[in-house]
Every structure is written in C-alpha cells, then in structure tokens.
Subunit: 484 residues, 2 copies
C-alpha cells in the first residue's frame, strides 16, 4: 500500500503534498484495510439507479439556477463580510428549498480582513498607473504610500541568491508567470510567491512587494489570494498587478533604466467574525448516521461573484443531493452536503468541521469536494483500501460515458475535504479541465456569465452518481490507506 | 456619379453617414472630374517598387516597436492630460528618429475633461457593487451620490415610447447589446445611447443614466467613450457598466422586484488645453507640395494605453512612411503623416487641420486613415473620380496577396480624414477585421499585449504600398466625386 507516484501539481497542491508526505511517513502506513468487499461490488439495480441519476442530471438545471441565485442575490462573500452572513442565510434557505433535511448552520470563527483602496504607479522613467489589488492579508502602507526602486526577481529562489543590500529599502517585484495547463499544475508552481513572497522579501529588508498575478489571462484585472504569513514574519504591503501591467513594468525595466514605483494600500484587519458551515442532508434509508460528504466552500473572494470559485461547487453539490433526494431509491447511507466557511483565508470551516466531527470520523464513509469551477470532468482519483478498488472502478464506469477515466488511488480531497481525509476518511477527487479556470480565479471576472450550464450539469451528473453509489455501497470503504 | 449604396455601418458610421448625406444632397454633385487618366495607370517599375515595399514591410517590425515605445513610454493620453503633452513630445522625437522630414507640431485647442471616481451599487433587492466608468463628458453627481429606482429600456426609441412619468426622478438603464461583426457594424447601432442616451433621458426627467457597455467582451471592464451633448441639453451623470454587470442588473430586474441603484461620479471639466497635431513627411521627389496624407490619432482614452485605439494607427502610418523614405525610389509627391490631436473628444485635431489647410485642399492628392486597430486587412474602398478607378484597382492588385479585395468607390475617410474628405480630397479606406476590436476598445484592456506584430506588419505593408503608388501616380486623383 504505497503512496502513488506524484501527479502533476493541482490547485491546492500544497495541501495535497503535505497530506501525501504525512501519509508516506506515517508509522502505521501498512495498517490492514477492513474486510474485503465481494467481487461484484454493485448489483445491476444499483448501477441502473446511478445511471438513471446521471441521465436526469444531464437535463436538469438545478445546479445552474442555484448558481444564478447565489451570484445574483449574494455575490461577493469573503469571510466575515456582510456578504458572508447573507450567504449563510441564502444557503440555509436554498438547501431547504431543494428538499434537503437536517439543514442547519454550525458556527465557525473566521478571520476578517477588510480590503481598502490600493494603487500602484510607475514614477520613473515613464510614469503610468498600474492595475493592482492587495493580496489577502496585506498590511497597509503609510497613508502617503511608499516609493522606492523596483528589484525584479523571478521567484523566491532567485531572491535568495541576490545580495541583500540590493533588496534593502526596495520594492521586490516577482515576475514569474503561471503556465496554462489542463491539470492546473501551473498554479502550484506560481502561487508560492503569493503565499511567502512578501515574508521572504521582508526578511531581506524589502519595504513592499508586487507580484505578477497568479493567473493565465491577459486582462487588466489583478488576481488576489491569501498570503501565508507565519508567526515572526515581518509584514510588508503586498499587491498583485495584472498580467498586462506586469508586462509593462518588465518592459520598462528592460530599458536598463532604474524604475521607481509608488504604491499605497489601506486594507486592515478587524476582529474575528462569526460565520458558519451550512449543512443539509438526504438521510440514508438504512444507516442514516453514516455519511458521504459532498463538500464545497461558501465563501468567495471579494472582487468577483465567486461564480467558479466556489459558487459552482456549492451549486453542483447542492443539486447532486437534490437529485439523490428525488431518486426512486434513496441510498442506504446519508448524503451530507457541507458548504464550508472561509476556505480562502485559512480553511476555518473545514478545520472546525474536522475538529467538531472528529469523533464521527469512522462514520464518514467517503468525502468528495468540488472546488475547481464548472469545467469538463476528466478523471477520477480515489483513496480507498485496495480491496475496495473494484467498487471505485464500477463507480467510474458509470461516469465513463461523460469522458471520466480512472486515474489512480492517490486522492487526498481538496483543501476542505482534505481536513477530514487526514482523519482517515476515504476520498474521491474528480479532475476537471482546469485550462480556463485560472483566467477567472480570484478576480473581478469570476462572474456568472463565465459558467457554462452544460458543464454544471455534467459535474452534477458525476457527483450524483458517485455519491449515490458510495452511500449505497454495502461494505463501505473502511479507512483510507496510510491514515490513522 | 452617384453615391454608392450604403454599406453596413462601420465605426464612426455617423461621421460617414453624415458625409454621404452631405455629398448626396450637394448641388454640385454632378461636377465633372478632371482629365481622365491613361489606360495603364502605373508602369511596371512603379508596381514593382510598391510590391517591394510590401515585401519589406512584411518582415519589418518598425510599426510594432513604435507601438511598444508609445505604450511603454506614454501610455494613456487623453486630450489635455499630462499624457497628451508627453505624447506630442514622443511623436516629434519618434518621427524624426524614423527619418521623416519637416517634423513639427501644429497647435490645437482641445477640451479637457477630467475623470474622477465613480461607483454604482445595487441598493435593493440584493445589494452588490457594479463595475462602472463615467462616459466622457459626464457631469458629476452630488458628492453624496444619487439613489433612485432603475427603469430599463433597450434604446432611445423605446425610451420615447414610455410614459414620462415612469422616467421622472429615476435612473434610466439602457440595456441594448452590441453585436460582434467582422465589419464592426454592431458599433454604429449600439453607440447611439452613449452619445445621446443621457440627453434624451434627461429631457424626460431622468436624474441619471447607466448604459450597458458598448463592447463585445464579457470582462468586468466597462467601456468609456464620448457623449454628444448639444447646446440646450440638460446634463445628468452618465456611466457605463461592464457587460457582466449589466447581465447582473438585468437578472435582478427579471425577478420582478423594483431595483434601486446608488451612483456617484466626481468627474469635472477644466479649461481648454493646448495639444497639437504632429506632422512629418517624406518629401516628394518632383512635386513636394502635393501630399498624400496618412492619418491616425495620437490621443487615446485614459483607461488603457490606447494600443489598438489608436496607437496602432500611429505606429502603422509612421512605419509606412519610414519604409517609403527608405525606398529605392522616392515617390513624386510628399507622403505626410498626420497624427491628429483629440479624435476621441470631438475631432479637434482633424477640424483644426482641415481649417488651417483648407487653402491647400487641392494639393491634397489622397487621404487615408488607420483607426480600427491592428487587425487583418480585408477590403479597400476608394472615393475617386470614375476615370481614376483603374489606378485604384491597380493599387488594390498589389494588396491582393494580403487578402485585400476591392469593395467599392464609397469611401469617406474615417473620423479624422473625413474632415479633409469633406473638402473634396479623394480618400481610400482599408477595411480590417473588426471582430475583436470592440473587446478592447475604450477599456483598460486596450494594452500592448493585445496587439499581434504580424498584423501590424500587414497593415504597414498595405499603407506603404498604397501611399507610394498614390504619391507617385502622375495624373493624380482630381477631386472626390460629389464634393466641392
């Protein structure tokens, strides 16, 4: 039971990587799986029910209309904001309207960072305004802003090789570009400067940081995203500029002249706020206390409507549960939709859920998460004991007409479900085509018009069929290999 | 000598339409053309020189590098702004560096409107911020902004059919969408609300106007553009919202609930400012006082870098002249590049040029203008006496390998060259593929990265060959039919 060879880094690759490392180095790695499943994991009737769900989902716009409702009636909903509170109310009402049961909110304390205004302009050699946004968590500049010469570096590795006297008192500009890829693998490589670039530059005496947006588009819309500050970090203002603005800044630097920037930012931290995980269920017909979790996150960044990130996931999982609730036969176990609070700013909701439900980890039969927008489903990963792989392959076979291949027993859950995966809960990850996702991700452009209803339907079809089969699979999936 | 049947409306269609009407109704419409040209308008040597210019242009990046320089070193340059003054200095230096002669600036007085901050938000039923920009020339709101119910109308015609009591005290929202088209014809139909929508709404008692952006993209970047206020108009604040924001607003209205908006704008008018037309020449070898004008406009809107609009034209025409200056044989007449001041806000530069050079109209042999970005050349229109059409067809034949077809003797010049066309100067219009132009036009997204160097080269090749032949065409083109 070894850890699968690394796949290309996906979004939230850091979370995944950390989990894989934890698993690979765990002393009880070779722990035996529970009793093996039978050779034919599902009956014909079970598979027929799942196929029927799939077909109904492909002609049902509950997901798309749920996303329309969320983006129209709530829109931006960053942790702790008024929109966040409205999103919780919206989600409670929506899950009830979709026929889910036991709909309730579980309180979560979230950090509350408030975006202010920010600006960046080239002062010399050729004055021009640049389009910028503050990175999530950035401290403010002095009110008058700050002005300094720019030092371009590709990434943190290159920063470390530069004489610190060239950094001190300057603004560091991280120039690395994100590569477009179907598997989103460019994100993991590019995003490190967003998380740690400011702290690393500050350690060397920089007074501010500018990063090229972590995104694949060429719009004058900068990409925000959370920083990963750690205790002891010196905090300096950190902004992202749009890709065309990064081109311009590089072009001015290429002239060989010194380039000076002025930057200002007025963001601030408020007290922690209350938010909530919103939960609703389709109760199981035989073992209602055993659950399959369908996860997505309810919060979004503040710049857009959080349509792909992660309104799509909220809509897809809610619609999948609704269709399961309308199935001719309810599954044996409960299908539980968990709409997590504050994924973007530190996984507060997922950590709270994992903490509060740790005692019920063994009754969490399977977890799945949708947090990569509404794009074409391509591949299924699992993390289950080897003797349950036949069930997984049978589940994948129901998705094969949608183009979903089986890709290996190396899943880890995405950011949120990863928190319960770490407790030993088996997980499935559905890869979708991430080629376009990072054009919109964390920008003002993440709006409803960017979402294709047909692709919402295909995702709903996948999760409805997967969740129904997982919840009805009599033997269950035991504990994930390599976890406690 | 009749006016050609109307073509689909192109950008600046209003200017064109007004000219065609003026021509068609002019009492001296049937005026005889000057002496007819010979049957073979050009010698083999002339055509070979033009083909050679075309081929050199196709492997020369003078145009693209000129555009890089303008966008990098000047960027935004709206009439009367500091960028406008820098653009004039840049242009003088650049034309000299490209080897043009008689490089000079001719003063132009321009209006000076200063963009302030603006905001729009839905107050109810579902509060959300909308991305907005002020239309050029918009007056400010009261400092606290204004708030009112929204009345959606498709266009001015629909507004006129609505009971005015429904308009009074409200904010009118023009919902009409621009259609994408190769010939840009959607622009002429959509742009009327930008020009006259506020004035027409104000006449009926509206207190503010919001328009869906006149553009074909789906980015959260609104499209600005000039209004056409007239003496006696009541002035109310007028903003454009991005297409996704217009979708959201329509979606909230579709709920059947009353929608209230809050809008604010702090733009203002300053005193008229000084700008300049920048002119440079490749002097003719035989008749240097007779000129072929290559026109483009130097000003841009303030939100982007004016890359396609009209940095591309500036770069294309400058590079074409530079290549003509390096030809083995200079043409008989002068090729004059005119970079017009303030096209965007009322054609100040073109009107000033036409006024100051009216006495030399007869020595203006031909005018051409590039003001539709750097896209694939597709078609050539002319407006010359019929007995000069053989020369035009020979000129077009040199462009045929680039995909340029002859489309008719119905040219009018674009907005700027149209001013001298109205004096009887023959003109050629080069149609380019406008499918993508209105994705970027008048937005922050009009930046250098959107421009394809190969398409700049193809445009330079067209204008270099056309201008060389026009300037070397011994008989000249007389006066345009239907003009004084």
């Amino acid at each position: 039971m070894s850890v699968a060879p690394p796949r290309p880094l996906r979004p939230h690759a850091l979370v995944r990587t950390l989990l894989l490392v934890a698993i690979a180095t765990h002393p009880r790695l070779a722990q035996a799986a529970p009793a093996a499943a039978s050779a034919a994991p599902f009956t014909d009737a079970q598979l027929e029910e799942a196929r029927s769900l799939r077909e109904r989902a492909l002609i049902d716009d509950t997901g798309y209309e749920t996303l329309r409702s969320l983006t129209r009636e709530v829109g931006p909903r960053s942790a702790g904001s008024p929109g966040d509170a409205r999103a919780v109310e919206w989600a409670l009402a929506r899950l009830r309207a979709l026929g889910l049961k036991n709909v309730h909110a579980e309180p979560v304390t979230v950090p509350h960072w408030i975006r202010g205004n920010c600006s960046v302009e080239v002062v010399s050699p050729w004055p021009q305004p640049l389009v910028a946004v503050a990175l999530g968590g950035s401290v403010a500049t002095p009110e008058a802003g700050l002005e300094a010469e720019v030092v371009p570096v590709t990434n943190i590795d290159e920063l470390a090789r530069i004489d610190s006297t060239r950094i001190a008192g300057r603004i560091v500009f991280y120039t690395g570009r994100m590569q477009r890829a179907e598997d989103g693998s460019g994100y993991g490589r590019a995003v490190t400067v967003r998380g740690r670039g400011a702290a690393e530059a500050a350690r060397r005496g920089a007074i501010g940081v500018i990063i090229r947006s972590v995104g694949t588009d060429r719009n004058r819309l900068a990409h925000t995203g959370g920083m990963r500050n750690e205790p002891g970090d010196k905090l300096i203002p950190a902004l992202a500029i749009s890709n065309p603005d990064a081109d311009l800044l590089e072009d001015q630097l290429a002239s060989g002249q010194r380039v000076r920037l002025r930057m200002s930012n007025s963001s601030s931290w408020a007290d922690s706020a209350r938010s909530a995980n919103v939960i609703g269920e389709i109760p199981g017909r035989e073992r209602p206390r055993e659950v399959v979790v369908l996860g997505a996150h309810l919060d979004s960044w503040d710049l857009g409507q959080g349509a792909h990130d992660d309104g799509a996931g909220v809509a897809i999982m809610s619609a999948a549960a609704k269709l399961i609730g309308e199935a001719r036969s309810k599954p044996r176990r409960t299908v539980r939709v968990v709409l997590f609070a504050n994924e973007e700013f530190g996984l507060s909701g997922a950590r709270t859920y994992a903490r509060d439900h740790a005692g019920e980890a063994a009754s969490h039969v399977m977890g799945m998460e949708s947090d990569l927008g509404a794009f074409a489903p391509l591949g299924l990963h699992s993390r289950v004991p080897p003797d349950r792989l036949a069930a997984i392959r049978a589940m994948q076979s129901v998705l094969a007409p949608l183009g979903v291949q089986y890709r290996g027993n190396d899943a880890s859950g995405d950011a949120d479900v990863g928190q319960i995966a770490a407790l030993g809960v088996p997980v499935c990850d559905l890869d979708t085509d991430a080629s376009e996702y990072f054009d919109w991700h964390h920008t003002a452009n993440d709006t409803f018009d960017k979402v294709d209803p047909a692709l919402v339907r295909r995702n709903v079809a996948c999760y409805a069929a997967l969740a129904w089969l997982a919840a009805d699979y009599a033997p269950g999936f035991g504990r994930a290999p390599g976890t406690r």
